[in-house]
Symmetry: C2
Subunit: 204 residues, 2 copies
């Protein structure tokens, strides 16, 4: 009985999708624990409870596993774009974003994974491009909020809102990175970040 194309997924197709997800999940856990280059394809397969050869039925190679993970990680970023669409005062939106993004970065696994991805992106452009593009979207949206705040007189006139929004995101990321290395608590950093940012953008 050949399947009509538009119908519900076959049992097999669904099982395959689950397998893929399982492998990706296992890969993430390995990359977090040992890092990308220290993780062997066998580690991923073992962790996923899948044979070595079978992994290559689902992914062309190790590199492509990371590419897919990077794509998933990138999609996680879109949740923050929603914040910028809210019809609230610029200061409120800015605060909401700082807290939301800060909370996201307070989970070390998010930061560690981003480090692995960006670290690999330094030398493998195909990983970085889309990952970076999404970051630029956030920076762009943040810049728009800054400009709106300036127009409304809520924020000071700053020389370069685009660079400013870059710096704000950089500070969040840098803080998260350092909070891992020094075993500090990112969530405790959050209110200081808010204070710092608002002091920098608010009208004197």
């Amino acid at each position: 009985m050949p399947k009509p194309p538009g119908e519900a997924e076959s049992k097999r197709a669904k099982a395959v999708a689950e397998r893929r997800a399982l492998i990706l999940e296992a890969a993430v856990s390995c990359f977090l624990e040992k890092g990308y280059h220290q993780t062997g394809v066998r580690d991923i397969a073992r962790q996923a409870g899948v044979s070595l050869g079978n992994l290559y039925n689902h992914f062309p190679g190790k590199h492509d596993v990371l590419v897919e993970i990077a794509a998933l990680e990138r999609d996680e970023m879109t949740q923050f774009l929603e914040i910028f669409a809210r019809p609230a005062a610029a200061g409120v939106v800015l605060g909401d974003f700082l807290r939301a993004y800060g909370l996201y970065l307070a989970q070390p696994e998010n930061v560690l994974l981003a480090i692995e991805i960006t670290s690999e992106a330094l030398r493998k452009p195909d990983i970085g491009e889309r990952f970076m593009a999404n970051r630029f979207e956030i920076v762009g949206a943040l810049e728009a909020v800054l400009r709106r705040g300036i127009e409304d007189g809520e924020f000071r006139a700053m020389p370069n809102p685009h660079q400013m929004s870059h710096l704000i995101v950089d500070m969040l990321d840098g803080g998260a990175y350092q909070s891992i290395l020094s075993e500090a608590d990112m969530s405790k950093l959050l209110e200081d970040i808010e204070d710092f940012v608002f002091a920098a953008v608010r009208r004197h």
Copy 2:
């Protein structure tokens, strides 16, 4: 004529020191080009024009090569501590530090090397400890300047000068990192960083 102990180094000792330096230099260049884990010990030896076995006469292993590089890199940081000792107004010292550290970070090789080191430090504590300790020294000195500026009425009363100084350094580092990934120019970011920081700390 037997050499008195305190005299100039023997030919051999000098040659050895040069060899070590040569190997370290080669390792840095390899790590910059390919990254630590993608670099093989043979790559380093070849680049240094030294045999594989001989490299192990100078270093216990690959890991120790990176440890030594990290130590050298760490020592580079002490140049910034000198700035904080200057007897100038807090705002002047802060500006001098921002420019000096920013200029240092404008050289991509400094940033890339720091990334390799800190990235490895995530999983090998012996690399990170001293490297981080030095960073804390800088943050500590910066914090002292902030406190001095607050006392003098030059800076606003901020809730947590320690965290603030952390965030300033994080922003510089993050900006440098992103300027590499997005192929932007760090030195052009510098004046915006100055503007951002001073807007955040100056008395309104």
